[in-house]
Amino acid sequence: MSGANPPADGADRPPLLALDGVRKEFGGSPVLRSLTLDVAEHEVVVLIGASGSGKSTLLRCINLLEPISDGSIRLDGEHITDPRVDPDRVRRRIGMVFQSYNLFPHMTVVDNITLAPRRVHGRPRAEAEEQARELLARVGLSDKASEYPDRLSGGQQQRAAIVRALVNTPRLLLLDEVTSALDPELVGEVLTLVQSLRADGMTMLLATHEMGFARSVADRVCFLDGGRILEQGPPEQVLDAPEHPRTRRFLQRFAEGGRL
């Protein structure tokens, strides 16, 4: 728990990820308005907020899956929203995990994981598979390597999807409501995996509706509302003593739903 922003290791290094005045419109209506956010290396930042508050859009913009309408995004100091930058090269440094897993259904688990190493990084199949099997063993899926995704439970699919994102050894991992599609009893296995990634020092930016998860994994929690970061700080501050009435109302609804 290095604590609040700015991170403890000082101001001599630029943040790993820096968003400055990011705006995103869909058909004229703004989803993100002048959003500014820094994520330091090894920091875990959790985005919370109602559906439609812009969490997923923000993650998709960082991964350049959506072009932004204004502002800039920097990764390792490089301006990645510059139109001259090759987006494929940027995405290789960012891992992304989706709410609906998005495993490739026509490939086995191990082929899903080795696709990018083989096709993007040109590594030989044997070497890529060895690495994939090591990672699968770490997440307890050794016996599922040769299965097709539809033979796996939701939790197993999501763990495989996380491994697929990790195999590129990304600088930054984006997790978009990775537990929202899971049955309650399967949520735990994915959360445990994310916590172990945190212990390894992986820099993560994640959107979630699991407040308990946000509390246990976050260095910093950001409350998004109407495309802006309304409030941010350490989890105990934002989740337990929110300053803004809208944050309070949002958390109140979760408390009533028994999910806090």
Partner: protein, 305 residues
């Protein structure tokens, strides 16, 4: 399970007493279930009998109408003469070999062209506008154009230009079939490509795959699997339409039948050719049905994305 009498599901059954067997391996169907199965069996037998009877009635009525018609004897002699059929068979069968070879080449050509055009139509960005417009215009035009007219244009019009190196009429006819079927197949492929969930492309691109790699390794394999039943159906239609090449002159099965008919003034050779075409279609139709069933099964098992 240990107290079956308290099971609420038992109360509304009104059947015999529940079977008290405590262990699952000793399970025997209850009288209620046995009665239900017996009833369903009786129903099945009844349905089969009714279906058989109605089929027989319709069949007999049709046969009586045809065989009892005043002109049947003459029709039988001109269309179903076994001697003429036997005489014509070698020629027609030799012609069918041409149809078969033409089918293989046209099928491969049309699939390749269709896939190319479908992919061109999915390209975005202003750079690709000319290619996209060309592909779109092609699918609009050739799906509307009657095959016979395309065939005539290719086989009579193109040689009329008297260009050096004009290919044979057979090749030109094959090209007519390929461009006409390619337009339909392109639309089938495009439907398949668009049916792949956008999350699949997002996942592929987020791994660093380029658009082309995502298409090649993620989208197309899924699209082709999904549309293989309709594609095979188009192949069945194509195998029948390769017979239209006879209009341009090459001696295929239908042309051979026409020649035999002209010699004998008997239409039986056409029937021979028709039967041979059906026999040629049977394996393809069977494969199509099998793949369709398998695809349906896979689809229903495909719970998660």
């Amino acid at each position: 399970m240990t107290a079956p009498l308290d099971d609420p599901r038992r109360h509304d059954s009104g059947g015999g007493p529940p079977v008290p067997g405590p262990a699952e391996e000793e399970y025997r169907p209850s009288p209620l279930q046995r009665e239900r199965e017996a009833y369903l069996r009786r129903q099945t037998v009844r349905s089969v009998l009714i279906a058989a009877a109605s089929t027989a009635v319709v069949g007999v009525a049709l046969a009586a109408a045809v065989l009892g018609s005043p002109g049947w004897e003459r029709v039988r002699a001109t269309f179903f003469d076994p001697d003429v059929a036997l005489d014509a068979l070698p020629e027609v069968a030799a012609g069918l070999w041409l149809n078969l070879r033409l089918l293989v080449f046209c099928a491969l050509g049309a699939l390749a062209l269709g896939l190319l055009v479908a992919v061109l139509r999915t390209l975005r960005g202003p750079v690709f506008f000319p290619l996209r417009a060309l592909a779109t215009g092609y699918t609009y035009g050739f799906r509307g154009a009657p095959l016979i007219i395309v065939l005539y244009l290719m086989t009579f019009g193109v040689p009329g230009l008297r260009l050096e190196g004009t290919p044979s009429v057979l090749v030109l006819g094959g090209i007519a079939l390929v461009v006409t079927y390619g337009a339909y197949i392109a639309e089938v492929f495009r439907a398949g490509i668009e049916s792949v969930h956008p999350g699949q492309i997002a996942a592929a691109r987020s791994l660093g795959l380029t658009y082309r790699q995502a298409m090649r390794h993620v989208v197309l394999p899924q699209a082709v699997r999904r549309v293989s039943p309709p594609l095979l159906n188009d192949m069945v239609a194509l195998q029948k339409d390769v017979g239209l090449i006879s209009l341009a002159g090459p001696i295929d099965a239908i042309r051979a039948a026409q020649i035999a008919t002209a010699e004998t003034y008997n239409f039986t050779p056409y029937i021979v050719a028709g039967v041979l075409f059906i026999l040629m279609a049977v394996p393809l139709v069977a494969v199509t049905d099998r793949i369709t069933v398998r695809a349906a099964r896979r689809q229903s098992a495909d719970g998660a994305r």
